[in-house]
Each structure stands twice: as structure tokens, then as C-alpha cells.
């Protein structure tokens, strides 16, 4: 028994529900992929693939919880006030050792992350690509250009998804065992900011949903794999 083993025990117990990838991330990813398929495909695959992906997501939503409960058991997190935890996180700049032990339940945590992601994205957008131009000292709002609006919406999808992954990595103590969260977050944030210049093909609804959906599925699978690796292979010591 080493100190790393105890730290792994603490981390997995603390984030047990979040690491159940088939419960949330994979189904949400499959639903995103189903919308991507609906937006991009034509002909008979457009009828079959989205339905199959959606059905798979629903099956996982219904059955994954029971699978995790019967295979790995159950834990209940320590309930705290989300606002108190958030202010503590911000004041300590997310430094893991200074954080209080109690954690916010998964639902409110995702809502907080989503809210933060929206706020950061809007701030970023207003600072670097504001929806107005100044002509002869007069502020003129651009509007009515569907291509520009569409491009902005697509970049917003990348940005929100990227910030979600970055925020999740932050809340999960920036563990070295979870580099994929940081990697995916940086990739998606990069597409949100530099996509139109570095990868113009990525600025399409179908592609954006495909990339984000695949990222969610991949992160969910890796979370699940990590959980199985820790809880599934431990033997008597």
C-alpha cells in the first residue's frame, strides 16, 4: 500500500459518479452524433443512422445506472451549497489541496460549468470578434448575414464544448491520469478561436457536431476505462 494507492482511492471515490462514462457522456455524445448524422447525411443512411444512435443513447441512459450499481456499488457524495463551493474554487484558483473535501452533486456541477463556459465564451467573443464595427466613429452592428451568423454559432458550439472539457479537467483536480480532458478541451477551444483560419472545413454544423459528439463519446469511454481499471482489477493485498 503506497500513498499513490490511497490518493487513487480518494480520487475515484470522490468522482465515482462522474467517471461512470456510459451514464452521461457517452449517451450525450451519441445524441450529438445522431443530430450530426441528421444534418450531414442524405438518402437511406439519414433515416437509419440517427435513429440507431439515438436508440443506443436511450438504452444507455436507461441501463447504465443499473450496470454500474450492480458491478461497482454505490456512493453518495457530500452535499454542499454550490455557491459556497464555487466561490471556494475561484478563490483558491482551483488548487486541489486547498479545496474543501465536500463536492457538488453532478447535476448542479454541470450547470455551473455550463454557465461559466457561456460567460467566458461571450466575454471572449465580445473582446475579439464583437458583432459590431466602427465606421467613421460610428458603431454599426452587423446583422442579416446568414453565413457570418452560422459561422459564429458553429464556433460557439466548439467553444462551449471545449470549455466544458477544460472546466471538467479543472474540477477533477487536473489529474495526470486524465490528460484527455485537457487535450480535448484545448483542441475544441482551438477550433473555436482559430478554426476559420487553420481548419476552414471544421466550420460546418455537421462537422462541429461530429467532432463534439465524438469527443464526448471518447471522454466517456476513457472515464469508464479508468473506473474499470481501478475497481475491476484490484486484488487482495
Amino acid at each position: 500500500m503506497e500513498i499513490q494507492d490511497l490518493d487513487r482511492i480518494r480520487f475515484v471515490t470522490r468522482h465515482f459518479r462522474e467517471l461512470q462514462g456510459f451514464r452521461r457522456l457517452v449517451p450525450v455524445g451519441l445524441m450529438t452524433l445522431s443530430v450530426a448524422a441528421l444534418a450531414s447525411l442524405t438518402g437511406w443512411p439519414r433515416m437509419i443512422l440517427p435513429a440507431a444512435l439515438f436508440a443506443g443513447a436511450c438504452l444507455l441512459l436507461l441501463g447504465a445506472g443499473r450496470y454500474y450499481r450492480s458491478t461497482f456499488g454505490e456512493t453518495e457524495g457530500v452535499q454542499t451549497e454550490p455557491i459556497a463551493e464555487l466561490s471556494s474554487l475561484l478563490l483558491t484558483a482551483g488548487w486541489p489541496t486547498q479545496r474543501p473535501q465536500p463536492v457538488i452533486p453532478v447535476g448542479p456541477r454541470f450547470l455551473i460549468l455550463g454557465g461559466l463556459a457561456c460567460a467566458v465564451f461571450i466575454l471572449f467573443q465580445l473582446l475579439f470578434w464583437p458583432p459590431w464595427v466602427t465606421i467613421d466613429s460610428e458603431v454599426v452592428f452587423w446583422s442579416g448575414d446568414p453565413a457570418m451568423t452560422r459561422a459564429m454559432l458553429i464556433r460557439m458550439i466548439y467553444g462551449l464544448c471545449g470549455l466544458f472539457f477544460l472546466g471538467t479537467s479543472w474540477l477533477r483536480e487536473q489529474r495526470l491520469s486524465q490528460p484527455y480532458l485537457l487535450g480535448i478541451g484545448l483542441l475544441l477551444s482551438g477550433l473555436a478561436t482559430l478554426g476559420p483560419w487553420l481548419a476552414p472545413a471544421s466550420i460546418a454544423f455537421g462537422v462541429a457536431l461530429l467532432v463534439c459528439g465524438s469527443s464526448l463519446v471518447l471522454a466517456g469511454l476513457l472515464d469508464h476505462w479508468q473506473l474499470v481499471r481501478v475497481l475491476g482489477t484490484r486484488e487482495e493485498e
Partner: protein
């Protein structure tokens, strides 16, 4: 006068200073409560071993157990008592102090070793 590292080791709480019990208490300190299956999975202990350790921990008042029926099966839920939460926190503080004083003690010993020549 400060205790030597050996005295600090001797004074460690024996209820906690055991790999299996430390694993159980560490897991329970990271959540509100956990069921028997989860503790078995996370610690890697057999049912019998885990049950025996939990009984000892319950006898000493560090954990509290509760049984309930879920789908006609008994589910055992375990949580740290207030005393248990305080005990595990002070155990980690003692371990940290021990680590620091052991490092200092090694330096003092080095100073006492006569240099050749």
C-alpha cells in the same frame, strides 16, 4: 520536548494505521457514504476480510453502518462517524508531522557521523 520519529510512530492510532482499514477510511472520507460492494471493489478486500475490518471499525466507533433492502436484497451502507472523520484527519496530520520530523532526524544523524581523516 519534541517526540522522536520512533515515538511518533508508536503513538499513531492503531485503529487507523493498517493498510486495509486506512483504505476503507480514506474511501469513506471522500464521500458521504458508500455501500459494501463499492468498498470491496475499491479496497480489493474479500467479503470476509472487509466485513471483519468494518466490524472492528464499528466497534471502535469510527464508522456507522446501516442496512436496507433494495430489490429484495440487503444493502449495507457505511459512513464515517463524526469521531471517525476527526480521527482520519488527525491521522494524516500526524503522518505529515512524522514525515517532516523523520527528514530532520536523518539530517541530525548525518551531522554526528565522524568524517574520515
Amino acid at each position: 520536548m519534541n517526540a522522536t520519529p520512533f515515538e511518533q510512530i508508536a503513538n499513531l492510532d492503531r485503529r487507523v494505521h493498517d493498510p486495509a482499514r486506512l483504505s476503507i477510511l480514506t474511501a469513506l472520507s471522500a464521500c458521504e457514504r458508500a455501500d459494501f460492494l463499492f468498498l470491496q471493489r475499491i479496497t480489493g478486500l474479500t467479503k470476509g476480510n472487509l466485513s471483519s475490518h468494518l466490524s472492528k471499525l464499528e466497534e471502535t466507533g469510527l464508522v456507522e453502518t446501516e442496512k436496507r433492502f433494495v430489490n429484495k436484497k440487503t444493502q449495507t451502507l457505511v459512513r464515517l462517524s463524526d469521531d471517525g472523520r476527526g480521527t482520519i484527519e488527525s491521522y494524516w496530520k500526524e503522518m505529515e508531522e512524522l514525515r517532516r520530523s523523520a527528514a530532520g532526524w536523518r539530517l541530525q544523524r548525518t551531522e554526528l557521523v565522524p568524517t574520515p581523516g
